[in-house]
Amino acid sequence: MIEVERWSATVGHSVGLRTINERINQLSPLVHQFHHTPLEQIPEVIQLDGIWVTITEQGEVVVFDRRNRARNERHGKKRVILVALGFWTENGEEKREIVDWQIAESEKHEEWEVLLHRLVKRGAKADNGLKAIIRDGCGGLGQAVEWCMHRV
């Protein structure tokens, strides 16, 4: 509800939860486009890492709030955002961009593979100028890198 109040304050009038949801759904094609458009600039280096966050989701159980309105019970779920940060040089200037990300349930290799396969499909491979992947020692990620970046 704090977020709704913040949105309302930003636009200068009351904004309903449904309106916010509609706006969010309208923006989702941009997210799809981001994940699937070929990379304009192939990074020389990609750093990979995951961040754990709690995302509050709507459950099945209906509860009643203080104003006796029926609402779906909400509960927090731990999710990991797998992030790929790309680096390259353009006209002598160092550039960086988050080239892709994936909200996943774990850092298992199957989850990393989804992100890496997509990056390869979008052009991030050695033939196009990708030189290195930088990562931590997470076992699943190492396996995924070997599968997606090294095998033909």
């Binding site: 990979l48 989701e57 988050i98 931590d136």
Partner: protein
């Protein structure tokens, strides 16, 4: 196994040194060993200041001999996968800050996590994806020295093209 043209798989040196730090805290416990721990880590860190992979390996061998008796687990930890942490020496003409560790990404991730703490509740994964997307666009605008007005205007035009091609 058939390999494609090679992409170097570099393990983060900061993570490697952190593992050594954690291990030596259990091996060389307490205030009495504080100076020893500091020295061990300082020398471990200096291994990565070598000018070539060969020199780094030589430095590791010296370091391992020196610390093997008092901190053999720390030595084993540092030696494990060491070759994967010096793969970056094969790269030429690439900014060292990009290839030695994931520190830059971790800094970015801290910013993303902060955003998630502000907007804790998402009705669905779509909401979380969109929030993340917008935050990433903000970061890109900042890095490219573009105003948020310009970026959001471009996004709006892009969206119009998607809905009305």
């Amino acid at each position: 196994m058939v390999y494609a043209q090679s992409v170097i798989d570099q393990r983060c040196i900061e993570h490697s040194l952190k593992n050594v730090r954690d291990k030596c805290r259990t091996e060389l416990k307490g205030d009495d060993h504080r100076e020893q721990r500091r020295q061990l880590l300082q020398e471990a860190s200096a291994v990565y200041q070598a000018e070539s992979a060969e020199q780094a390996k030589e430095r590791l061998a010296v370091w391992s001999t020196q610390w093997g008796e008092v901190a053999h687990e720390s030595v084993a930890t540092f030696e494990r996968d060491f070759d994967a942490t010096i793969a970056y020496y094969q790269l030429e003409g690439v900014t060292l800050e990009w290839v030695r560790s994931t520190s830059l990404l971790e800094r970015v991730n801290r910013q993303l996590r902060r955003k998630f703490r502000q907007a804790l509740s998402f009705g669905s994964n779509v909401g979380a994806e969109v929030a993340l997307y917008l935050q990433i666009q903000r970061l890109h605008a900042k890095w490219n020295r573009t105003s948020w007005w310009q970026t959001s205007h471009a996004l709006s035009l892009n969206l119009q093209q998607i809905y009305h091609p």
